[in-house]
Symmetry: C2
Subunit: 300 residues, 2 copies
Amino acid sequence: MKTYIGIDLGGTNVRVAKISEDGKVLSQVKGPSYGTEGPAKVMKNLKEMIREIPDWRECSGIGIGVPGPVDTKAGTMVLSTNLPGFSGYPIADELSKEFGMPAFLDNDANVAGLAEALVGAGKGLGTVFYVTISTGIGGVLVVNGKTVSGKHGFGGEIANIIIDRDREKINYLNVGAVENEASGTAITRKGKAAFGDDKIQHAGNVLDLAAKGDEKAKEIKACMEKDLGQLFATIACVCDPDMFIIGGGMTKSADKFLPGVIEQYKAMSHTAVHDTPFVIAGLEEPGIIGAAMLPVSNGI
Amino acid sequence: MKTYIGIDLGGTNVRVAKISEDGKVLSQVKGPSYGTEGPAKVMKNLKEMIREIPDWRECSGIGIGVPGPVDTKAGTMVLSTNLPGFSGYPIADELSKEFGMPAFLDNDANVAGLAEALVGAGKGLGTVFYVTISTGIGGVLVVNGKTVSGKHGFGGEIANIIIDRDREKINYLNVGAVENEASGTAITRKGKAAFGDDKIQHAGNVLDLAAKGDEKAKEIKACMEKDLGQLFATIACVCDPDMFIIGGGMTKSADKFLPGVIEQYKAMSHTAVHDTPFVIAGLEEPGIIGAAMLPVSNGI
């Protein structure tokens, strides 16, 4: 069975693992990424960690997940807020030359979705859309085992989709952008506005209040369910996935809001697509497994 | 060079052509489809027409475009309003057995988009989204030369995407569905409401009035441009295509509204995706050429 090197490179930490083609973690090295110290330091450290992987020479390829949009063809980051100096830096090329095997770069959310699509819940399906609902809202479309990153690496960057024009302007995103209305951050903001900073630390507090029958909390929850239902209905119109896979921190409370989201999705969709399954992401290490799947999805 | 049989099967007419793999029409037969007389009559007639194509035996495969959503895996129509009796009928299987070559079925809008993506403006690009703006609004996503029809054949069926919740209920589609707000039919409806049935026969009349400076017509046009701009911005968030290709009857007036649509698209999109090209569909026979490209996109 083929093996691959998967790398989850964040602004603070980095993990390097040897992964089998069916998604098993065979060995793993973790450590600080030195993300604020610039590419020379980050890359030197990363190369040393790869050499710590037993029999790394037997691997068929390298995949790297990074925070932010990526030019997958060039193997470079387009924006690198959490890894200063890496915008346009040839990460994939440099690792490919150093270790003598093909290397591929993609966004960390894309990579997590790829893991779920290839060796997780979506295994064997043609079209999978992965949505992460956490601090923000992101996603990735996987078609025939390949992420659809698109022209600028923005494929699946669904945060800015407008679900309702009649909302407040919050930040640089569109008025009514789904991330500003239905993410964990958004529900926390709405909860604090309704109940005060003391009562609400995170979105889960709002969902708990709603479960106890609080009318204001139930309104916030109903609005979130409609906003997310519309997001999924919109995505279904574009690519009609075989499965929606949902990851991210908010899935801890999925039992509280997902049934309502699916109900709203159905209310805004043709009956033919009502049976599309909504599945909670189940892999324990989607970041490094998905990174290791990048060479697989590129036919290596 | 390989050749394929492309079939454009409508409710009224049918066209059968021999097409080269680079999209040239080598020979063509046209006639009535007998669409209202049921599958037995339609299929008998269609088979006779295929046999009229010179050297049809040399072709490598058959592709059929039909009006309405298709189960591409089964090779059957899901809904067949214009071809009664064809819902679930094994069109592709029957032609494949009869002529001893692989046969594939897809929706006529998907097929037209496939033609534009494979041998038209999108030739050689990885991700292409084709949008048709006509009586209705439809589309298709083409990734690496294959249409993404999805689980139920509804991939690209963008008509029902909600662009604004604050609109009238028009029909079975969602309130604020883009087809009810920005299609040719929608602009005609809005024009008739504003100017009366006498002055407005079709959407072009409204655009002409706007060009002459009429304030009400300019409002309708500005609303259409914002609605379509939001549609394209939404699609870009899902799949970030290398190119948007726009077909359908409304493209005759594209010079009047497309610049405004692109301006609105940019206003609702990340700057990174502002350079995505919007190209008017240019093939003369996308229906039969695209049908013939179905075997190509399936690796035949």
